[in-house]
Symmetry: C2
């Protein structure tokens, strides 16, 4: 609860599969208060979204508009916000209305037919980045469970590709035979070397992964380097596949904390410097842009 939140003109919500974050916003786009919970859409039935949002925004104004983005707009979410087809501006579609919550609007995701691809949530971060960097052309990289590379030109998302890199890292760390060979340590030099290896021979990934098991087993490599090498090999392979996206382009890495810095560092080893933009700040800026568009339409 927050007294400042009483003055909110609207509420911004980032609602993904595993998290829910909300901000009480002034008309200007200034944050008056923020809150979060673990009530991600992945764990909620359709009738549970309203109560989950009410819990996390207790004490905030009950009648102001709410603008949400992320998986909350998927078919399994609160209300489906049909994908807009690229090429299009990141905020291209009409915000979806939620039948049982008339003050809520949901930002649609983007889809691409060839190769088939989808995003939900990242389009709002891109909109935020473009709102703060008008006229920016280049390639945005959004690291995560399903990392995105997004080609942006003249205010539009031209094309994009999703990589399962983060999910592979999680599966291999937690469920594969490699889990026996990984420690909590992180070694920066091993990371950089593995990025280089992944970039140079991306096709060898499945074989390089097994060396993370065999090396420590034979006492030939230090298990403390395992996590950094696993991450580096996967990110290196992703950078190799995404090279047509980033080579010779202006690059922005939009994300949070260590993972975003890790991608920027990996790109830097390839002579490709990237601007870092905070993922949380970008989503708020994007929701603010969506809120302004929506007001003009009403």
């Amino acid at each position: 609860m927050s007294d400042a939140a009483q003055n909110a003109a609207w509420i911004a919500v980032d609602w993904g599969t595993t998290h829910l974050r909300a901000w009480a916003m002034a008309e200007s786009g200034t944050v008056l208060a923020e809150t979060a919970s673990d009530d991600g859409m992945g764990g909620l039935g359709r009738v549970e979204f309203g109560p989950a949002l009410a819990r996390v925004t207790t004490g905030w104004p009950g009648e102001v508009p709410i603008i949400a983005c992320g998986m909350v707009g998927s078919r399994q979410g609160w209300a489906e916000a049909p994908y807009a087809a690229v090429p299009c501006p990141p905020l291209a579609g009409t915000l979806a209305r939620v039948p049982d919550a008339p003050r809520v609007r949901i930002v649609p995701g983007l889809k691409q037919a060839a190769p088939p691809d989808v995003m939900r949530g990242e389009e709002t971060q891109i909109a935020g980045f473009l709102a703060l960097n008008p006229g920016w052309d280049g390639v945005a990289c959004l690291p995560g469970t399903h990392a995105k590379w997004v080609q942006i030109s003249a205010g539009e998302v031209v094309s994009f590709r999703t990589f399962l890199t983060g999910e592979l890292f999680g599966l291999l760390s937690d469920h594969s035979i490699l889990r026996h060979s990984l420690t909590e340590d992180w070694d920066e030099a091993s990371f950089a070397a593995a990025v280089g290896e992944g970039l140079a021979r991306p096709e060898r990934l499945a074989a390089s992964l097994f060396t993370l098991r065999a090396g420590p087993l034979l006492g030939l490599t230090d298990p403390a380097a395992g996590r950094a090498r696993l991450s580096g090999l996967l990110i290196g392979a992703e950078l190799a596949a995404a090279r047509p996206y980033w080579l010779g382009q202006q690059i922005a890495v939009i994300g949070e904390g260590a993972l975003a810095r890790t991608y920027a560092a990996a790109l830097d080893t390839q002579g490709a410097p990237a601007t870092l933009a905070d993922g949380s700040a970008m989503v708020r800026a994007g929701l603010t842009a969506a809120w302004r568009q929506e007001k003009e339409r009403i």
Copy 2:
């Protein structure tokens, strides 16, 4: 139980992480009886190996020698059979003795220093294949959870590489977001196309994988093709990485059933015909070769 088993001169045992198979063998190498259980080494403490073997060979002669191969010889197995270092013949090391079971001998696995790699069990299949094909030179492919590509020349294993392909298939099928998009169906044409894709652009794997989710979600691809495409992309990427091994070489695929045929079919699409050799027959032939070597030493 089997009357024929009473005449066994020795017992052959293939003991992996998840399975235990045993054969009552005549002196000549003929199989008199066979048996199997789910008592893989992965589920057994050191004192449980003896009872597990006794259970599965009930009624067989209690005093004949037993020759075993596989993960039973690992550090976490019944008794450690230290790796022999390549280049060397597949049956290079001394069979390991088991302290609490004097009639048991275990075949050592093979190790390689650069790149770090190990095998346990496959060396016995290779020995069996070479016993049945004396003087054979070429490359053996042993598909599985940890698929192996093995360069063989003048009766020796020269080098080898392990690919995590089978384990990745299992993790992605059962634990990743792709599980929502896969059915039990198998489509041969989709498999062949995906092998070609994986071979042509192996570095795109992590992105190609996401299309298995996005395609059906957008109604653009048939979910019934998903499993075959997943398998094809992973095997195609493996074949691309293993190309220096198999290109222009004589190839043997040593394995069982559908998976071995799948690899042979994938190689065939690349104009690289392979001999298929039954994995179970090869392990028996290899254990027979180990038994003969051991008799000469005693």
